[in-house]
Each structure stands twice: as C-alpha cells, then as structure tokens.
C-alpha cells in the first residue's frame, strides 16, 4: 500500500512512492541519498535529525514521510548557497562548534531557526533554544559562541541590506 508523495527538498521537487510507515529521515537518507541528516536516538530527544519542514525545525525521526507530502524541506545540504556557507555554518567553523560532527547538521538547523525567531539572543536564550539538540563532544560552549558569531554576521548582513 505505497503512497505517492511530492516533496520539495532543498529546492528540488521529488515524487516518490513510499510505505506509509517510512520515517521522513529514512526518506531523506535512503530515497534521496541526502545523508547529512543523521539519526541519533529515534525518539526525537537528541535532535541530530533536525530539518526544516515548511520553515519549521522538526525532528525527522519522528515524522512520517507521508506527513511531509506537499511540503518544502530544507536539510543541511541546502544551507550553503552559491558556494557560500550559511552564517551559522561559518560560525560553527570559526568557533570550533563541532568535534565529531555527528550532531552538527541538526544543531546548525536548530540554531538557524533560533536566530530566525530571535536575531539577537542572549547566552541563556541560546542555551535554552538548543536544548532539544544533544552534543556529547563540545560541552556546548563553542556552540554558544558559534551561534553568537552567526547572529552578528546575520545582523550586519541585514544592516547592509537595509
């Protein structure tokens, strides 16, 4: 009883037949070979699988692919544009916001959403905002600095745009 779904991922539209029980993260990784989105706990607690669905950060390990039918999905592979890293990616690189890198794609997606909602977050707001994403390597401090750095970059960019 496969179901046909239409999903636009990173600006590219896809039509696939999927089992109704297929998880969105498996659809992205296995059907579309977008392996940047990782699976860390299968219970929506660690956030490694975070992607944007219609602009909302969601944990793709607990969403079914069929639920994303008709949606626009952005994965980590869609963050850099025109050969240029997203400011959040730049922040993570400059401030050593990652070690093993496994939680990183989800962390970057969550951080981007946080900055979209709050362009100038305090340290406390950053720490609260990434609570749904676990990192075992960094102790979070460099991640906090990476997000602060990204916030500055995005502010100066929007100031220029104005």
């Amino acid at each position: 009883m496969k179901k046909t779904i239409n999903v636009t991922v990173n600006g590219v539209s896809h039509q696939n037949e999927v089992e109704p029980r297929m998880l969105l993260v498996h659809y992205l990784r296995d059907a579309l070979s977008l392996t940047g989105t990782h699976i860390g706990c299968e219970t929506s607690l660690c956030g490694a699988c975070t992607v944007l669905v219609d602009g909302q950060a969601v944990k793709s390990c607990t969403l079914l692919a069929v639920q994303a039918d008709g949606s626009k999905v952005t994965t980590i592979e869609g963050f850099a544009a025109d050969g240029k890293l997203h400011p959040v990616q730049q922040g993570f690189w400059e401030h050593h916001g990652l070690q093993c890198g496994y939680c990183t794609p989800g962390m970057i997606v969550a951080a981007a959403q946080l900055l979209e909602r709050n362009p100038d977050p305090s340290e406390e707001e950053i720490r609260h905002g990434i609570e749904g994403n676990l990192c075992r390597c960094t102790g979070y401090q460099h991640i906090v600095q990476a997000i602060q750095c990204a916030a500055k970059k995005m502010q100066s960019k929007s100031a220029v745009a104005r």
């Binding site: 089992e19 029980r21 297929m22 990784r29 070979s33 977008l34 392996t35 940047g36 989105t37 990782h38 699976i39 860390g40 706990c41 299968e42 219970t43 607690l45 660690c46 490694a48 994965t75 980590i76 592979e77 963050f79 850099a80 890293l85 990616q89 993570f92 690189w93 400059e94 050593h96 990652l98 070690q99 093993c100 890198g101 496994y102 939680c103 990183t104 794609p105 970057i108 340290e123 406390e124 950053i126 720490r127 609260h128 990434i130 609570e131 994403n133 676990l134 990192c135 075992r136 390597c137 960094t138 102790g139 979070y140 401090q141 460099h142 991640i143 906090v144």
Partner: protein, 802 residues
Amino acid sequence: MAEKLVGQRLKRTEDPRLIQGLAHYVDDIRLPDTLHAVFVRSIYAHARIKGVDISEATKAPGVVAVYTGKDVAKVGPVPCAAALPGLKVPDHRVLAGNKVYFVGHPIAVVVAHDKYMAKDAADLIQVDYEELPVAMDEEKAAQGGPVIHEQFGDNVAYKLTAGEGDIEAALKSADKVIKQRILHRRLAPIAMEGRGVLARYYPGEQELTLWTSTQIPHLARTQIAIMLGMPENKLRLIAPEVGGGFGSKLNVYAEEALLGWISIQTGKPIKWIEGRRENIQATIHGRGQTGTIEIGFKKDGTLTGFRYDVFADMGAYHQLLTPAIPTLTGLMLSGCYKIPAIQMNVTGVFTNKMSTDAYRGAGRPEATYVIERALDLVAADLGMDVVEVRRKNFPAPSEFPFKTATGLFYDSGNYEGALKKALDMAGYPKLREEQKQARKEGRIMGIGVSTYVEICAIGPSAATPAGGWESATVRVEPTGKVTILTGCSPHGQGEETAFAQIAADQLGVDVNDVTVIHGDTAVVQYGIGTFGSRGMAVGGTAVYLALQKLREKANKIAAHMLECEVEHVSFQEGKFSRHGGKAKTGSVPAPVVPDMEAPAGALPQPHPQGKHVTIQDVALAAHIAKNLPPDMEPGLAAIHFFEPKNFTFPFGTHIAVVELDRETGETHFKRYVAVDDCGKVINPMLVEGQVHGGIVQSLGQALYEEVVYDDQGQLVSGTFMDYALPKASMVPWLELDRTETPTDVNPMGVKGVGEAGTIGATPAIVSAIVDALKPYGVSHLDMPIKPEHLWRIINQKKTGAA
C-alpha cells in the same frame, strides 16, 4: 624550525565536510544490493534458552537468512586483551548459546533486503526463556548468590592487590584514619553516532572489507581476522568518519565480526546500524566501582597512607579491556600528593549486565575522585581549608620526576602553579567571604576544588596489552603536496588539522597542502589508535619524528642540487639555502640527455634558483630521480614508529562554585574555573574543546547520568528520556586557562588533554555541593547527586524526611 602554525587557533580542515552534511559515517556509505541486519536480543538478564523458533521469521517477506548461536559457532570468541594473574575469562561467543547473561545479549540476527523487513521479521522470532536468578550488585555477587558462569563456581573474575609501602604501618602511624564508602555508578559513554558496521566480501579476491565505527582500526582488524579465521592481510578495515567514541569504540564487538561472517556467507554487502536503545544495552559502559577508602594523616594534614578496597563491576563478559580498567585506578591513587604507602585491593566481579570497559578516563577518574574526596574529608576533619591540605602534600617542582607509591614516575609538574592560577582566576578568598555572607542570608553556597594529575600518552608498550607506540608516514608527492598517514585514527579530536599544523611548520608548506589520512588499514601502515589522551603525545610525535627523517633526506638531496655539502645547507620556510662552502665539482658526469621540448602533461623539471631550492623542487627531483646523490633511494617519504619511554602526567586545578536551590534541590553553577596543564599546545582551540567536552561529561556524571538496572536486571535507563545527558542549558560558562609545563617524554613536550575534563571536574563539582551542605552535617555524597536527594537533605528538619 620556526613555529608559525603550531600554537595557533587554526580553524579545522575537517569542518567544511562536517558542517555541510557531506561527511561519510558508516551509515552514509551506500553499496548496491546491501542487505540489512537486525539483532534479536535478550529481554532477560539471566535465562536459559530452551529454544529459538525462527520458522516464521525465515518465511517473512524480504528475509534472506536468520542465524542463531549454533549457526555461528565457527566464529571465534570476542577477545579480551587484558592479562591479569588468575583472570577468569568466560567464552564470549558472538551470539548466545544456551544461556543469556544480560539484557541486550544478542541471540539471533535477521538478514533482509531492507531494515524495515528485517525488523518485522525479528519480531516474529520466538525465544523460549527459562528465567534464572540474577546477580546484579557487584559487592553482593562477589560474596555469593546466583553464579553467572557456572564453570567458575563463583562470580569473582579476579582479585588483585597493588601498591607500594607498608600500608598497615602507614595507617597505624597516622594520627587519624578516616574511612568512607564511595560509589562510582555505571555510565553510558553515548557517542552521538552509535556503533555501525558495513561488510562486503569479494569472493574472487577472497577479501573482506569492513567499515566500522571504531577508534582502533588496526587492532580491530587483527582481532576480527582471528575471530573469522581469515588471513589478516585479506581483511581491510576502514574507520570512516567516526561520530564520537569516548572509549566505547576502543573495542572489538561481536557484531563487527558477525557482519563480516554474514557477508562471506551471503556474498553480499551487509549493514547493521545500532539503535540508541541497543547502544545503551549492548555497547560497553564505564565506571561501576563500589569501594571503601581509608586515608591516614597527621594532625598537620600530612598524609601517611591511602587504601582503596574496591569491588569492580565487570558485567557478564570481558570486552577488550574490561578487567584492566580498575588497574588504571590503582596506578593513579596517589593523585598529585606525596603518600608514602598506597594499597588497592580490587575484586573484579561478574554481574548480569553489559560489560564495563574504557569510558573517557578509563579507571583514572575513579582514582582522582577517591583521592580528592579523601583530601576533602581530611580537610573537614582538621578544620583546614581544602586548598591548604592539598598544598601541604604537593611534591615541589624540583622533586620531579616524582616517584609514587603506585610504582609510577611522574614526568614533570608544577601543581602549585596551576592551583595558584586557578585560585587567582576564581578570586578564592573573596569567594569564601561571599560564602560566609550567603550562609548568613540563608543561601546554600559551596566551593569545590580539585587538584588532579592524570596518566596520558598511553603508553609505553611494556605497559599496554597490544603495543603502546604509534606510527606515521610522511610523503611529499611529486607535485609538492604533503601526505601524512597516521595510525592514530581520530574520531572528533581534530588530528587532521593539528598534525597538518606540525607538518606545515616543519616543511614550510601551506597547511592546505597537507592531507592527513587515517583509518584505512589498506592505506595506512599498522597503528594503534586514538584513546588514552595519546593522539598528539604519541601519534603527533610519530608524525613529528617522521618529518625529521624526511627532512634529513630532503636536506641531502638539496645539498646535491645546490652542489654543496649538507652542513652548508639551511632550511627555512620551505626553502633550502646554501651558506658558504665551495660548490662541489661533480665527480660523476651528468648523463647526457637529448634536449627536447617537454610534451604536454610532462612534469616540470626541478630548477635550483641559484643558492636556493624549495621543498617542492626537492620532492620533484626525488621522484624524477635523474640527479640524486649516489646510492640514494628515490622518492621522498619517511615512516616512523614512535615508542614513548614513559607516560605523561598532565595536571591542573578545577574550581566549581555552586548554589543549591532550597525549594527544588537543584544545583546551580555560579562559576566554573579550570586551569589545565597539558604541556605544549599545538592548537589552543582544540585543547579548549577537549576540556569543555570533558568537563561537561563530568558534570553529567556528578549530577545526572546513571545506567540503572532494576533488581531483576532490567535496564530502566534505556533511552534519552531516562539516561540524562547534559543539555546546553544545564551547563555553566566555563572559564579556562592553562599553565605550560613541558615534558621530556617526547620531543615536542606535549602531554595530552583528551581526558583532563572528565578527571578533574567530577571531584570539584561534588566537593562544591558537599561544601555547600557542610552546615547540614554532610561530609560526602554519592553521584549522581540528584535534586531530590539534595532537597531531602535541605528540608529534612522541616519535613522529617532524610
């Protein structure tokens, strides 16, 4: 050689692939026709298996095969590399035979065309269990009750006494001896990427390639080849991108060999990716010690002797290093103090749980924790400041190398230096004033100090089960690009960057022209791996020494090209220059070669620019090999196997300042200060990252984390809902600084830093909480110190509960 990059906060060369989702962890590697494996695991901690009915599963859609214990009897046992006198080693098969010993013990494996099908079929397997009584508590299990491995008669895996000096006399000579029971709960290492294996057998070549998420690709290859009974040189093991390890992937697991075996049986690639529940059930745990300390001391705070009697929880089987971990505890019991007599009596005990093994720090955090707790108890008893009792017992910098009563020689140290810096940063006297004021106001504030020393750069081969050296090959390719092959395969530490920094300085090349390759046994010469804070101190040293060898050869070629003696050649910033000396007149006439225009695609010819040649010119000349010194081998590569002559002993001081919430019992951090000394630093940013991560893992241990089995052996902390990892909001801002006391154990003077945080932080945090509760008569608390427990202590008078 001028250091331009060493010491710099260089951005990591690893990161562009990782931040764009373009890296390849095991599960990201795709091979056509790959089959998928799902394991059926025991739901009981101890049971006899009366039967396994796989008939429905084998008929399920997409299923290729189902294997149980009897099918895989030919696969050799899961290895234990630790050798201890009288050690009992149970036969650890890759799938259970007629008994299961812990929840998560693999019983059967289903192989199907996709993972959903494999999972569906696994649910159809019926295991007929006969439940048996369990042995869960290591202390009780050592003394009697149900026996896990019947052939041994009891649950004691080994007993060991270690230490030097007359402990009885030392404790007798003390003015006082304090005794304290101390628990180290089991922890789950929790790499964010669990384990995963992809196996592909090539029947024609009779070669097996195994991609596995491991910290020790070469050691794993050797062991898995033995398990599979295949020639080691026909097994290629690749550790691709590895998503964290913390010791949990310093091992050889049943699933790794079994996947290889299934690929050989089916002739197809096969993949298994561990789920998080499996990861907490069936990947090694850490810590797990129940002990009692006795510390003897004089009235002035001088320590006379220290004894640690401990029951160490092995779990049901020995994994690679299980029984060896408590021996590391024994080595570090002296901490950074002069203690004339030390004794550890360890009883290793089998329990109906997953094996314990190396988790970040591996036995040393336990040692630091017990000696630091002991110092606090002494200070409290004498009414001394916790800092003063530590100072009283430090060896002076002039006393190094410092011999401990655990048989070690600490290489170098300036414990007072790190302590003073940390106290200054924290503003210690002012904090104590603030604490007095807080107490007056009814606030519950505490200050904890730990001064630690750790044993790193593991290690001399004589002291490690499978060799403690490390290897490096350095090549300058014909086009001048530099390739480094390291046996020290990293999993997040940033060695690709740090090793490139060393090479760029030593060869005077652009750091982006250096590539560091690791993890593939078909490409990289044999090596040991990344663990025990050895990456830089042992692996990096191997790179450094290989670079020296390479430079020696390059120097000779450069002298030949510059037509002078070697001693007249200097090397700076990638350029060999001739200084003085007469140009040699060539005794051998150069071969006459026809003068032709170079065809398109021909390599450029090396050209000495008067008195200079670049390293790139030399590399090209070395490969073209038309004009080399007589008897010189062509090519420009060097290999070095570095054997360290000792461990290194990094140290530091951590200070935690906490305030406890009277209403909720929560611990809030006001400050966290850490001064670590890991010798010379190659990339301060990477060092900070290691310290941050370590401290937060410690914080998890101190306040939240615990692998919990109930009294029937059920694992009740099997998901992230129940196993509480620290989140960003639970972590304070960490104020770090360093002192730098180099070591002479290796030429760069580096000591290692990977485990510092997990060793130094736990005692500081616990010390702070205990200090806060001093007015409540508290002298010790066992981890994890949960809010409920604190709330009960704080509110005991009010509620009558305690």
